[in-house]
């Protein structure tokens, strides 16, 4: 998928969790991503963050840092 589309989707998720109470937003975004995104998509996110994460919401970058702890590359 195009990087713009991936960034758009990830940021949409962040936008929702940002509005939620608590201060575990990054963890909740990470959980949402691992629950619903197929490993290929997580890899793409990972690569994009590795390449500077252009356009990604800070919370998505924080969430990605959580995901790499458990996600094994496809």
């Amino acid at each position: 998928m195009s990087p713009e589309k991936m960034v758009h989707m990830a940021n949409q998720i962040a936008t929702f969790f940002k509005t939620q109470p608590g201060n575990d937003q990054a963890a909740r975004i990470a959980a949402h991503l691992t629950d619903y995104w197929e490993p290929r998509m997580l890899d793409q996110l990972h690569d994009h963050v590795g390449a500077g994460g252009k356009g990604l919401d800070d919370l998505v970058i924080a969430a990605e840092a959580e995901i790499v702890k458990t996600h094994v590359r496809a």
Binding site: M1, K5, H8, M9, Q12, I13, T15, F16, T19, Q20, P21, H32, T34, D35, Y36, W37, E38, P39, R40, M41, A74
Partner: protein
């Protein structure tokens, strides 16, 4: 397995009542019935059939024919038993010589004005007038036309000297499915009452008085087709004579047996009697014991089944090496070997996860279960998704988060007890017609209606029904409107504190209440954005919170948005705030689009969930299936439909088995879908027709219709209904058998012998289905899941004593504007919907006479927007978005507000989805069909894309003549 049930649907004469028991005596027999019951019905309960003509148990008694007269001790005269309620101790005689004489006289009068062509009449053997003539013992008719006095009848076109009879009217054959022959009418008024009471359309009237009385559809110049009639068939069903008669019966004869089955169109899931004459289906009639429809139907289920025998139907498997080749017909085993070799080859070359499946919401539960099992157990991945992705996936997420289950909370009967109904983003009279009729009945009894929809749908104002409030919001602002409703309820203190304290998480509620009370959610502040009059919105909120039982029904106008899941949560919040949960008449009711959307979701079609909505990451859940199937199950979620297409374009997804879905026509951003399909090396389409997706397919497996197989559908109220085989599969195999053949060709070793065995496996692995089996369905007719040890007879109402997840959870719903924005290039907002006579992509309904009501998709545009663009009604216009452009004809109407345009997506030539974009719901990727920024201008013919598309389609549909 007993496949054929003989339904007991004797007409009891007048509707059932529910008062206190009353005992009376009829012909010496003691009878106890509820207060309010008619004498006619009480007699029927005791097994005594009093002759009747104008009464029917789905209509209020009318008392016009006087055939049902009886004698009651202590009362003068001979009252009509249909209009006489029982009283305690009443003594009734139904067969005295006095009443017999009256009945004979009545029949004599009827018959004197009736053509006695019984032997060749289409209703011969199925005519109540005939039956009653027999029942009263009519042997001769003494009335004769006066000599030289002209004809005093309605049935002879000319008298013997060739003069025209002014009383005679020709047949009205304008409706494609039934005819109206006025010469046979006995003016019993049943049709008029059926149209009013059952359907709620009020299309029929009795014109004239006395001998001149006539049934008329619409105004004097109208025929049935031109009138308001929506062809639901209720009047035809009600007519005791051949006056209103199905054309199929006229052509094929009356039925000799019937099979109970379930409509394969919309999520209402109406039960039908498939009426057979030998091995020919002659008619479908709504089954009165069907719990979803209670004896009613719409034009689709009742009449639009002719596609099963349409000439376009493909009955032989076909294969081709490349999509540029013509199709080649082959035998089943060759097709299976070809498909299996390709799919296995792709996995070898590109990896296990390079192939997947799409299940169908039109197929049965058993079929869907097998298709997702094919992905998980045979392909060894979780690449399974369903078209429910593109309609109700946000319901799954939103209700799952708030209540703990995605299930709709009520049964359809619940609407009979509701006081205030909110309809959001749904158009029931077109999308869910039988539910709409039931809703309208309740509205006529006084329930109030609030409509939240950008378009003035029919329910806003129609015969004898008007919405108290219509909030015509700008497309894409659902969350703002739903939050504003909640804001009013909370800030004006209208919430149900006790319910919230007892049933919901109090901390989360506190937080939510603080959030929603912020003035930025007030109707006044959000009006700028939503375009909704704040006073109207406040009034609507007050009505919903204080008007008694409040229920919310919603559809795809809620889910198909960037914030679809958030709106669903907002709706759940509204229901919890007002305590409208856990009893009849209330609740949150997602109106599912296709017949088995609910079932497709239940059966584990989603890539992250095993059957019964259990995430694949759970080791205990995987273990259940690993043991049942003897395979390892992948713990990572698979690709969703849009992700599959993206991965295909990226070159990592290569093979697809697509059952009963036409993703090329129904999914958004057609060009992207086409590019994804074109990039795949093996596309297997399993369908009735060469659909649009099949233009990109390498293997075509012909499917069977719902008439040709056994199985179950689960409707919008979680009701599991049986589908029964009526005729053998024309293509040779039921769809579950075809999936099994494909699985076995890939080495699976399945050996299901009947869908009942598949259901047994579902019950054994899925707790909410634990109690379901075909024997139970045979006994009960249908059950609503959860059906298990705790609920052996199923569950009509959810969350009665507590929410599924324990405490109901209020979730903060911040409005976020969609990124799909209007601007100078695309200044209008396009929203999409559907109409009554067509279904989804129209593959079935376009192949029936339903096209008389909808030949093409039209673009609805406000006269003001049309004027500034120089457009007139009926002009060809170009509709363009950032994704693509198409052409269609314009229809000027103020149903849409200025700035909004609307169309349907039933015809492939229109290609409304060339326009829709790839934006989607944040949580589920459900596409944002309902908001696209567009421009509209005059056009001079089809776009290049439409022409190229048509050429490609024609090329791709070529079939080589079979080799001898």
């Amino acid at each position: 397995m007993k496949d054929f049930i003989i339904p007991n649907d004797r007409d009891m004469g007048t509707p059932a009542k529910s008062g206190a028991p009353v005992t009376l005596e009829i012909d010496g027999l003691p009878v106890t019935v509820p207060e309010g019951t008619s004498v006619l019905r009480a007699a029927a309960e005791a097994g005594i059939q009093i002759p009747k003509l104008c009464a029917s148990d789905n209509l209020e008694a009318f008392g016009s024919c006087r055939l049902c007269v009886v004698e009651i001790e202590g009362r003068r005269g001979t009252p009509a038993s249909c209009t006489t309620p029982v009283t305690p101790g009443m003594v009734v005689h139904t067969g005295s010589s006095k009443v017999r004489k009256i009945r004979k006289g009545v029949m004599e009068l009827y018959i004197s004005d009736h053509p006695l062509d019984c032997l060749t009449c289409s209703a011969n053997g199925d005519c109540e007038l005939q039956d009653m003539a027999g029942a009263v013992g009519l042997r001769n008719v003494r009335y004769e036309a006066p000599e030289n006095g002209g004809l005093a009848n309605h049935f002879e076109a000319r008298n013997t000297s060739g003069e025209a009879n002014p009383e005679w009217l020709p047949k009205d054959d304008s409706n494609p499915y039934f005819s109206y022959d006025p010469s046979k009418c006995i003016v019993c008024n049943r049709c008029v009452r059926a149209c009013e009471e059952v359907q709620g359309t009020f299309a029929l009237t009795i014109e004239g008085r006395g001998f001149d009385s006539r049934v008329a559809a619409g105004g004097p110049a109208d025929d049935f087709l031109a009138s308001d009639c929506v062809s639901c068939g209720a009047c035809v069903q009600a007519c005791p004579t051949a006056t209103l008669q199905e054309k199929s019966i006229i052509e094929l004869g009356t039925p000799d047996r019937s099979v109970i089955t379930t409509c394969a169109y919309c999520g209402v899931g109406c039960s039908f009697k498939a009426e057979m004459n030998g091995d020919t289906l002659v008619r479908m009639t709504p089954y009165k014991h069907g719990k979803a429809n209670r004896g009613h139907s719409c034009v689709k289920g009742r009449f639009a089944y002719g596609y099963a025998h349409h000439k376009d139907r493909i009955l032989k498997p076909m294969i081709r090496d490349q999509i540029s080749d013509p199709w080649r017909e082959v035998e089943w085993d060759e097709a299976m070997t070809f498909a299996a070799t390709r799919m296995l080859g792709l996995q070898e070359k590109y990896g296990k996860k390079s192939i997947g499946v799409i299940t169908s919401s039109r197929c049965t539960n058993e079929e869907t279960y097998l298709v997702q099992k094919l992905a998980r157990a045979v392909f060894g991945n979780n690449n399974t998704d369903t078209c429910a992705r593109v309609c109700h996936s946000p319901t799954g997420y939103g209700l799952g988060q708030t209540f703990g289950t995605s299930a709709g909370t009520q049964d359809f009967d619940s609407v009979e007890q509701t006081d205030v109904v909110v309809v959001i983003g749904a158009n029931p009279t077109d999308g869910h017609p039988v539910f709409a009729s039931r809703l309208k009945k309740r509205l006529r009894e006084g329930a109030k209606l609030i409509i939240v929809d950008p378009r003035r749908i029919d329910l806003v104002k129609s015969a004898h029904v008007a919405a108290s409030h219509h909030l015509p919001l700008r497309p894409g602002t659902n969350v703002a409107v739903v939050s504003a409703l909640a804001h009013v309820i909370v800030t004006e203190g209208l919430m149900d504190q006790d319910f919230i304290r007892e049933r919901c998480d109090w901390d989360e509620f506190q937080h939510y209440a603080e959030f929603i009370s912020n003035p930025r959610h007030s109707p006044e502040t959000t009006a700028m954005l939503t375009g909704v009059d704040p006073a109207e919105l406040r009034a609507a909120a007050r009505l919903f919170a204080t008007g008694g039982n409040g229920s919310i029904y919603y559809g795809l106008g809620v889910t198909e948005h960037s914030q679809g899941s958030t709106t669903v949560m907002g709706i759940a919040n509204l229901a919890m705030l007002t305590g409208n949960m856990g009893r009849p008449g209330v609740g949150v009711n997602p109106l599912r689009g296709q017949n088995n959307v609910q079932g497709a979701c239940d059966m584990g079609s989603f890539p992250h969930e095993l059957p019964g909505y259990r995430h694949v990451k759970g080791p205990e859940v995987r273990k259940v299936f690993e043991e049942a199937w003897g395979v390892q199950i992948d713990a990572e979620p698979g690709l969703r439909i849009p992700n599959m297409l993206d991965a295909a374009v990226d070159g990592t997804f290569k093979g697809l088995y697509c059952q009963g879905e036409d993703i090329l026509q129904s999914d958004p951003d057609t060009k992207h879908v086409a590019a994804g399909l074109a990039a795949m090396e093996c596309v297997i389409v399993h369908d009735l027709f060469l659909n649009e997706t099949a233009n990109y397919a390498h293997v075509f497996l012909p499917g069977s219709t719902f008439l040709e197989k056994d199985g179950t559908f689960t409707n919008a109220e979680r009701r599991i209904n049986r589908v029964r085989k009526v005729i053998p599969p024309l293509n040779g195999y039921a769809d579950w058998e075809i999936t099994q053949m494909l699985a076995n060709a890939m080495g699976a070793g399945w050996h299901y012998t009947h869908p009942a065995r598949i259901m047994d496996e579902i019950a054994a692995t899925t707790p909410s289905f634990a109690g379901v089996d075909y024997a139970l369905l045979e006994e009960k007719g249908s059950v609503q899941w959860p059906c298990n040890e705790a609920h052996p007879e199923g569950t009509p109402l959810m969350h009665v004593d507590g929410f599924m997840r324990g405490k109901g959870r209020f979730i903060v719903t911040e409005y976020v504007a969609t990124d799909e924005k209007t601007g100078p290039r695309f200044p209008l907002l396009l929203t999409t919907g559907r109409i009554l006579s067509q279904y989804n992509v129209g593959a079935q309904t376009r192949r029936t006479d339903n096209v008389v009501w909808h030949e093409e998709d039209l673009l609805e545009i406000h006269p003001h927007d049309a004027e500034v663009r120089g457009l007139k009604d009926g002009d060809w216009v170009r509709l363009a978005s950032r994704a693509g452009e198409t052409t269609l004809r314009a229809k000027l109407t103020d149903r849409v507000s200025p700035g909004v345009v609307y169309t349907t997506f039933h015809h492939p030539d229109t290609q409304a989805n060339v326009i829709t974009t790839d934006y989607s719901d944040w949580a589920t990727n459900c596409p944002e069909y309902k908001v696209t920024a567009v421009q509209v201008s005059l056009s001079n013919g089809p776009t290049d894309w439409q022409e190229e598309y048509a050429a490609q389609a024609a090329q791709a549909r070529r079939i080589l003549p079979a080799a001898e």
